[in-house]
Amino acid sequence: MKRILEVALGLVTSIGGFLEIGSITTAAQGGAAFTFQLGWAVALGTICLALLLEMSGRLAAISKHTIVDAIRERFGFPFSLFPSVIVLVVSFLVMASELGGVALALQFVTGIGIRWWALPIAAVAWLLLWKGTFGMVEQGVSLLGLVTLVFLVGAIKLHPDWGAVAHGLVPTMPSHEPAHYWFIAVSILGASITPYLFIFYSSGAIEDKWDSSYLPINRITAGVGTLFGGALSLMVLVVAGSVLVPRGIQVDSVEQVALLLTHVLGRWGFILVVASLAIGPFGAVAEIALASAYIAAEELGWNWSEDVAPRDAARFSMFYTVLVFLSVLPIALGLDPLKLTMISMVLTAASLPVSVVPFLLLMNDERYVKEHKNGWIGNTAVALIVLMSCVLAVVSIPLQFMGG
């Protein structure tokens, strides 16, 4: 019974916690610019993430190591520092963009500018981390994040051409503006496959003391849960494609995302989308801060746990404290949240090979995963992810200037 509840909670967490500012805005931009043509990027990103999450849970359950811990131990310090620093830097930018997303949502509701909201949001996120437990951070906000199901409701009520949606799941060449098309594709992939997610997941599995008996739960939560969450992201694209394309509107501000469902759901459409723009990114701010602290603590051998009092893991707690309040700066200094989101998603895609390659090697090392090594499907899928990431890394930066 306990395990059934854990599976249910894990599924709900995966669904409710999936959408955040990156996935919402990139999917909305994709839908507005290319209707349903970029559905394949959402699907591919979701499948990739599901595979990586399952692997990270499996690594933690069998080896009793988190990803960062195992990389440090297996490959040694000089090498492990490189992916850790890269992921920390990119995650910081993502965290700042998520904070900007929450600030924008609050601006819609109150009319008070986002610069004034940045610090209070950071303070509330910090309080959640300081006083809360791992379960509260992971599950509490995700349960509230079920409000994002409004995109599913909205998509159904819009009666899109589902055949065209299905057709969009197959990669095609763009019908127009190829640079812009590939730039958004890169952004969608970067929004889906963010390294902090699988690092957070493996640390969480250790926090929850997973062992091999959790492997089936891991498969369901990481696999099925993520696929459902990705479907929600697809619904954002469908809604944007259905609402904005006929009106010839491109998404160049988050305000346009907030108004996506007012036509079909009225005032509640606005309220629930704004709530989605606030809750999902807020959860992401807390998770990224925690994931970053996990990276530093595991890399350097500090005490760490979200389930102990901050004084019992002082360096770990102070690390996320400093990070959360530093992330206020980009928004407080006036950086546009949408631009910051797109840049951070592209940089995420560019940095993926750095974290995925050593991860893949670990998943094939019997000393860590014993008989639970990756099969050829998992290896091929991750190898293709790495190859795709390398290609995207090479093209994404010039695309940034041409299409972004």
Binding site: W130, W302, P310, R311, D312, A314
Partner: protein, 122 residues
């Protein structure tokens, strides 16, 4: 009874736990004693930022030396645990006979806990 180990694979970069099984740090470096006509032996494990910096090439070493000699006549050594305090080498950690609550490697942790975290209600 003897046990065979590979220093790089089995010890270096592993998590170190004190006798109370709390995390002390990581094996950031190992030090061998080279003796004439006798097998070299492991004398210390080093656990500190300086030990890590020393592994980052010339710039890292120079930085470590600069930090270690600031305000001192002789440079401060990285924190070391004598090898004979090693009790167990487990798959995921090395357990040493050191009290984590009073160990020098936890000095920053204790200072932050006392002077900052506690004041913030943590």
């Amino acid at each position: 009874m003897s046990e065979r180990l590979h220093l790089i694979h089995d010890v270096l970069d592993k998590m170190v736990l004190g006798r109370d099984k709390h995390r002390l740090g990581r094996v950031d470096n190992l030090v061998l004693e080279i003796r004439p006509d006798e097998p070299p032996r492991v004398v210390y494990m080093e656990m500190s930022g300086a030990a890590l910096l020393n592994r980052l090439g010339r710039i890292g070493r120079a930085t470590a030396q600069w930090i270690a000699s600031r305000g001192r006549d002789t440079p401060r050594l990285p924190f070391r645990v004598a090898w004979d305090l090693v009790r167990e080498i487990e798959p995921a950690s090395v357990v040493v006979d050191v009290d984590s609550a009073s160990s020098r490697t936890m000095a920053w942790e204790r200072w932050l806990a006392t002077h900052v975290v506690s004041k913030l209600g943590g």
